[in-house]
Chain length 170, copies 2
DNA sequence: CTAGATGCAAATGCTTTGCACGATC
DNA sequence: GATCGTGCAAAGCATTTGCATCTAG
């Protein structure tokens, strides 16, 4: 199943990101990646840079196919295997986080996007809306701990119909 | 990737299910399924009954491969396509719920297991522990509603290390 | 120059489908 | 006996891998 995903960002704090902030964030991510490459004696290739640029510029959860299409529209000489490999590398470098929403796709988002992963998935149009609700985490952790579970990651997924689809379909 | 999944059930209320209750639940599910078949003019075949039995007897989240192995060990004449088709049919009949945990597998659980889907996934042994924490739901719904989102399903997924793996590995 | 990266194509693993045969209603 | 289900094998996907070629350090 192929799903087009559009994300409305809705995070606590700054909804409006100034251009300067975006550029700064982008720069920081790139630095982090190149530091990782150097440490691991890996190479900063043209493709890796292009893929990272596209990923950071998109600035929302995405998957290999979307990035591949964007990249191919500009630079025809990139294979999908390279995009897959790059995304896994980004995750290993800690600049991206890998996640899944139950369709067959492996999704990635910029790791800087907060510790929690709360998604509203519209079952009508496939849109993924991200939200952030810190008041829930502590309860979750408490429950888990009481069961002797050491929590590493928390994901909350709500499925339903988004306001736009609700308006359109009646 | 293949993962063995063991589930410790941990639900509010009755942790201990008496044999009578289990049998009753099983009977109810079967009735519901056969009602569905009749309504839709579908057939109650030997295989569908065998698969449903195995699924209900297991009484925990599972996936096609696990059921297939169980069934093949007893009745060698079942193809995996049939198990896949049966599981989808169970979901359509409302007696099973389909979900995913980000590995490549499509999982199913008995639909009667409550409205929420809260999983503790051990990143070490792959064990899926189910839990139920009703105090969280209202908060979730409130957040979603404030964003104009009509919620149909809620899934919470905690990843970490379970107590057993923690003890074993130090 | 050498370890590592790319791109293609082939391989993989889960799931679905086409089709001839078999079972149910 | 018509319709629907099964089992197998083949097809479909997203993703990974093998390998010859290319390139950054």
């Amino acid at each position: 199943m192929k799903v087009d995903v559009i994300v409305f960002e809705c995070r606590e704090g700054s909804l409006l990101q100034t251009e300067a902030v975006v550029t700064q964030k982008k720069q920081k991510v790139k630095e982090q990646f190149h530091l990782f490459l150097t440490k691991k004696r890996l190479k900063a290739t043209l493709q890796r840079n292009l893929i990272l640029d596209a990923f950071v510029d998109l600035d929302r959860p995405t998957h290999m196919d979307e990035l591949y299409l964007i990249l191919r529209s500009k630079h025809s000489h990139i294979g999908h295997a390279t995009v897959y490999r790059a995304l896994r590398l980004f995750a290993a470098a800690g600049i991206a986080r890998e996640f899944s929403l139950g369709d067959g796709l492996t999704r990635y988002e910029l790791a800087g996007h907060g510790k929690r992963h709360d998604y509203l998935v519209c079952s009508d149009c496939g849109t993924v809306t991200e939200f952030d609700n810190s008041s829930i985490e502590e309860r979750q952790l408490a429950v888990a701990r009481s069961m002797g579970f050491t929590v590493e990651a928390l994901k909350i997924e709500l499925r339903g119909v988004c306001s736009r689809c609700l308006t359109q379909s009646g």
